[in-house]
Amino acid sequence: MNLTLKIWRQKNAKAKGSFVTYKLEGASQEMSFLEMLDYLNTTLIKKGEDPVAFEHDCREGICGTCSLYINGRAHGQDSMSATCELRMSRYKDGDTIVIEPWRAKAFPVIKDLIVDRLAFEKILEAGGFISANAGAAPEANSIPVPREHADKAFDAASCIGCGACVSACKNASAQLFIASKVSQLALLPQGRAEAKSRARNMIAKADELGFGSCTNTGACEVECPKGISLAHIARLNREFLKATL
């Protein structure tokens, strides 16, 4: 299949970037989206050009390294999947694909399609932990946890920190990320003790880093590759209220 790719190119963090259009011939519908980019890079290298920089690691939707805003949607058009899980069978011969990096003040572009997501680590450092030393794994039934809580905490913990929520949000808000981290700990006995200060500190850090605020459009939930629920944001709001009032 032949494709027209409109890709954001930017030499480094300080350089001014722009879109460059590539005509790619001979891509296959059996490729994954990232393999298609690998193929593009092979053709660029053969021509002596600088290949397009993009992030990837596990390529099976569990590490959260890949990103990409594809044709106006975070991780492409499929719900509940990361860019690495996107297949070229979703595209037709002759399609034009616009590929952009995540856009947010808190996620500056480092090169081409790679952004610096250190802001998420800073939010975690502000409260995404329990300060007591948990020691070795305890005996399974020594701390009773209701099944429902365990399931919800696990759902929240499935966040891979990719940043799709920030990209999907019209306000570039990190609320779904923060909510998942707050929920996974607040729902379990070990994390309960610091639940209030955790919510307050993580929100304060996100505000400081320049993320936007939540207006409940729900776009993050739809674009999240792990389908993390907005219900966690409601829990974050409750924890925040309890912590500050």
Partner: protein
Amino acid sequence: MSNFLKASIGRKLLVGLSGLFLFSFILVHLTVNLFLLAGQESYNIATHFMTTNPVIQTIEPILAIGFILHIGISVWLTFWNQRARPEKFLKVDQSKSSTWPSRNMFVLGGLIFIFLVIHISNFWYKINFTEIGYIEHGGEMVKDAYTMVATSFSNWWYVVIYVAGAVFLGFHLNHGFQSAFQTIGVSNEIWRKRWTVLGNFLSVLIAAGFSIIALYFLLKTL
């Protein structure tokens, strides 16, 4: 408390709470307006009650504060949110991930604000601060607000403005209602669906309710 107001969530909570308060006012407002359909005497007595009742008069300034908070903080947050993405995406397709009203609350709010200014100068100001005709109902002289409304809505362009205002309000509430409950934390997987369904119903009810009254008077003159 200072933490509360400094944080984006805290400010957002104030938008949600003031929004719910304004929503309760809208329901009362629509209820009173529905007396218009019951006839001249019913509506004039209802208006007389609303303009002279001490409870309502105490709530009026609180209502004004509600409007100021809701509008002021929303404007502030919208600009804050604009700053969070200095470089925009070239191609954006949010149609599959969110509803149109949810992405356009600021625009809808702005249109409602323009309508509000027109509306307050047309009715509220006239009823409270200018001399309008009096009429006797049950031995008591009351302001004839009914005739004023009926005269206003005999102009088709007036009706167009009011129907547009009601529709904008309906769209605003369509997202705003469930969003407010999410923001104050009174929501989960199940309740979010309930708030959404209830919000859809109430937003249609409010948009239709206000529109029908305006159209009723226009049709009466034909």
